[in-house]
């Protein structure tokens, strides 16, 4: 066994001892880390699900509808089509006549479709449906044709998407603020817990310094103790979030809120990321907390 290995073994042993010695305050530390991570998990699920909604909406609304005047001529339609196709922001242009539009409406009304038979004239306009590469191009495409002959109105849904993006930004920033505050609180609680071990071992640390122990050797056990508190908190919160969310997701699907659950991230897709994030954050605040509490004691 090399010298370095023996030193590391001693440090680990002391770290585990500290964990046991500090059970009471340790529980407080673990609880606070768990709470932070669970809240973080809830925000994470919320943000990811909202992201889903935004992506989905983008796909559904990435088109511009151009309503045409009834008296429009075939050559005018062709002119508009050609103008639109010049742009590299456009995927396709489809012409839908007013008769087609009425047929589709009848179909979508299903059993009540016969009600539309009573119409004397077809109120629906001819439509050009322009598929865009991205909804953000809608404005410029609309502008490029708005002054052409035969166009009655141009419609697109950018405002809905803007609102959604704004909303999900609010949630994300709000989550960030709440989680950061809670992270700070956890670091503070952990550092106080570790301080108890440090104080209990003050004489020992003092002697260690005079015998020539390196700062790393003295600090090591405390960092390990903090790290372990963090990891325990991470494991507990992973269990809570995965079981809790799974339960919620299944219950919601069962009760036929499918419209709602299609937008939620499926638990399986989420868990791997949650595990990595939680373990990293748990270990991080644990180690950071103990380093904060040690700083004063090492300057002898």
């Amino acid at each position: 066994m090399s010298m370095r290995f023996r030193v590391i073994k001693n440090i680990l042993k002391q770290g585990f001892k500290g964990l046991w010695r500090n059970k009471g305050m340790g529980l407080a530390s673990v609880t606070s880390i768990t709470a932070v991570l669970v809240i973080l998990g809830i925000f994470l699920i919320l943000i990811l699900s909202l992201n889903n909604v935004v992506m989905d909406t983008r796909e559904k609304f990435d088109e511009v509808q151009v309503f045409l005047e009834d008296e429009i001529t075939a050559s005018q339609i062709e002119e508009i089509e050609n103008r639109v196709k010049e742009s590299d922001k456009v995927i396709s242009v489809i012409f839908k006549s007013k008769d087609q539009a009425l047929e589709e409406m009848k179909k979508s009304w299903g059993d009540e479709g016969y009600l539309l038979n009573g119409l004397e004239t077809n109120p629906l306009p001819h439509t050009l449906i322009i598929k865009l590469k991205d909804i953000e191009y809608a404005d410029s495409v609309a502008k490029s044709i708005e002054n052409m002959e035969g166009i009655e109105e141009i419609q697109y849904n950018q405002d809905i998407i803007e609102k959604l993006v704004l909303f999900s930004n609010y949630i994300r920033n709000g989550g960030l603020v709440v989680v950061s505050i809670l992270l700070l609180v956890s670091v503070f609680i952990i550092s106080n817990t570790i301080k108890l071990t440090v104080t209990a071992r003050k004489t020992e640390i003092n002697i260690m310094k005079y015998v020539g122990a390196t700062n790393g050797y003295i600090r090591g056990p405390f960092v390990i103790e903090g790290l372990l508190f963090g990891l325990i908190g991470a494991v507990i919160s992973i269990l809570i979030v995965s079981y809790g969310y799974n339960y919620f997701f299944n219950a919601a699907s069962d009760k036929l809120y499918v419209l709602f659950t299609v937008y939620l991230v499926p638990p399986k897709a989420l868990m791997k990321d949650v595990m990595i994030i939680f373990i990293a954050i748990g270990a991080g605040i644990g180690a950071l907390g103990s380093l904060v509490s040690m700083k004063r004691f090492l300057n002898v």
């Binding site: 023996r6 001693n10 020992e204 002697i207 260690m208 015998v211 020539g212 122990a213 700062n215």
Partner: protein, 233 residues
Amino acid sequence: MLLIRFVNVNKEYKNGVKALSNINLFIDKGEFVFLVGPSGAGKSTLIKLILKEENPTEGRIYLNNRDITYVKNRKIPYIRRSVGVVFQDFRLLPNKTVYENVSFAMEIIGAHPKDIRRNVPMVLSMVDLSDKAHNYPHELSGGEHQRVAIARAIVNSPPILIADEPTGNLDPETAWGIMKVLRDINRRGTTILMATHAKDIVDAMKRRVVEIEKGVIVRDEEKGVYEHEIPGY
């Protein structure tokens, strides 16, 4: 070979207190040096400078021919490994046995378990505590406490042992026991620097005496006594 060298050392604390002025002190390998003087004269500051608890304001300090005037914080532990320290208040770990209190000092520096098993009983027999190896500190007398502390200080075989009033808390008879141990350690080649107020011990040992007063070395004589004899005093 000179083990400790103070060259024109001044130490002024941040609060303006001038603790040491113009200290020139040379201690040879194998010497036994008493550091005497009233409380607050600067003895502790001098020891703190050797242990790198404080940096000097001016001058140079050499330990084992190495300039330790300014060293990086992370190098300090390695300097301390060449200096054993014994304090007036012993500083033992109450939850460890005599053996563990001593072996602890070797574990910290990552010594080989074989060396630990060999060295610890050896130093315990040197301080005459072999039969108390598995007792806890609360079962020991004051003198025994200090002997454990000495064993811990020398177990890693440092060339220098610094003793800061090692007999301060002990009755005269026990104190003599400690002095005998220190004398034996010195005879085996360890240099000893001992700060003390114990006049009778200094007078009887007849070793080199360095006297500090108000931060200045006022006397440094071979085979000295505690107080400079003043005629008619």
